[in-house]
Symmetry: C2
Subunit: 245 residues, 2 copies
Amino acid sequence: MKLDHASPKDLSAQIAAAIRDEIVSGKLIVDARLPSESELAEHFAVSRPTVREALKRLAAQSLIRTQRGATGGAFINRLSFAEAYGQQITTSTLLLSMNAVSFDVACEARYALERACAPLSAARRAQDHLDRMRAEIARQSRPGLSDEDFCASDVALHRALVDGAGNPVLSYHLAGAVEAMQPLMNMITFTARSRGAIIGLHTRIVDAIQTQDASAADAALSELADYTLTLGRDVMAAHAKGGAG
Amino acid sequence: MKLDHASPKDLSAQIAAAIRDEIVSGKLIVDARLPSESELAEHFAVSRPTVREALKRLAAQSLIRTQRGATGGAFINRLSFAEAYGQQITTSTLLLSMNAVSFDVACEARYALERACAPLSAARRAQDHLDRMRAEIARQSRPGLSDEDFCASDVALHRALVDGAGNPVLSYHLAGAVEAMQPLMNMITFTARSRGAIIGLHTRIVDAIQTQDASAADAALSELADYTLTLGRDVMAAHAKGGAG
DNA sequence: TGCAATTAAATTGTCAGACAATTACCTTCC
DNA sequence: GGAAGGTAATTGTCTGACAATTTAATTGCA
């Protein structure tokens, strides 16, 4: 809990790191109240605005929440699955878009992870997730659906597939992998033919899960992975050609 | 780019959200420079400290970096894989510890995801990753190794296995799943017998990857998952008994 | 006594202004 | 022409103050 006033790093970053370490290590437990900003300022021998900047850093990561008033203050926040999902999706999306990750690599990662979920989804076969997937397939079959909506429905179906595994930790890890693909998928123009092929594979996947046939689900997912990869490669090739010409 | 001064949310949170949206949507591209703090303050009609709190929120998520001096300012940061790994591990660890995720659930998620990597690792079989895994196995066999070091070596071996898939996106997603298990694994007391069993399975996994036998690797991983689950359940049962008695 | 309204206190949120530290650029002098 | 120094721009930090919000205590009244 000591700072280096001569360090090249910001004081607020050092303070945030010190408090974060105490949270991660478990010294500060959930719902515990941090000292007031004035007390923290005195403790670290800095001004209140500097402390505030540090607290905002922690708030940005959902590590603390603040409350005004007499009994207010900063409290250690219980990181909910919903918040973690959101952070995961944001980070994954930015990671892919900013580092020019190729369609191939992102696609391979996504389907490898999804195939890990399929056996669990098949074994547990929750009715509501099956219903969600059927509903998305119905939506994908609607004529006049835009490519963007088709992609959104595709993502929703795959999210249902993942959630069907009944393991929230798995859902958390997969959330980013599935959602971050959407911007890449949105670059694809889906013909009636390709939509039909995808819907057919989606149906095979859901059928297999319903009958708890894990290997059939895996086979269909594998085909879907290959097919998606083909579509993506065509688009990327066309883009490269258009960009060069 | 407008704020609601009557909103219950902090102004700094609103400003951060506005800028974050522009980054995620791609309107602000990598290495672009934001207006200076004074200009932002004028634009949003708030004071500079408020703008600074907003910028610190973004800095906490590695979305921007700041630089002092005449040509300094806040720049859109390219989210590196290394930074994303770190965030992923922190979030995953906190998610597990704060939500009292059971050993079973965390373990299931971890091994399901790892088994998704094994076929790719076997197919690509990078020498340096094989070497890393062999080195960790050697370390695990050393007498006098503490349980904590044994766990750390276990994590390192599995990280090498995951990295061996040669897909950085996959490594990113798996980083949290593998690392976040360490605190849970640290609760286990490893007997000489159990260490031997684990080392044996590790050896089988590495051998299988070296010979590019994906199914053998999967089988060994599956056994390791079952064995780890058994160890964990014993510990949890003992803890529950001790806690109740 | 019991209850409601008011007041006080504590805490975060925001603002204004100032100075320090750092860095790039320009000017001046040799 | 090159090097030294000065200047401007920008972030980092500090001080002090006031506003908004919430809880707790206090007071007044029936």
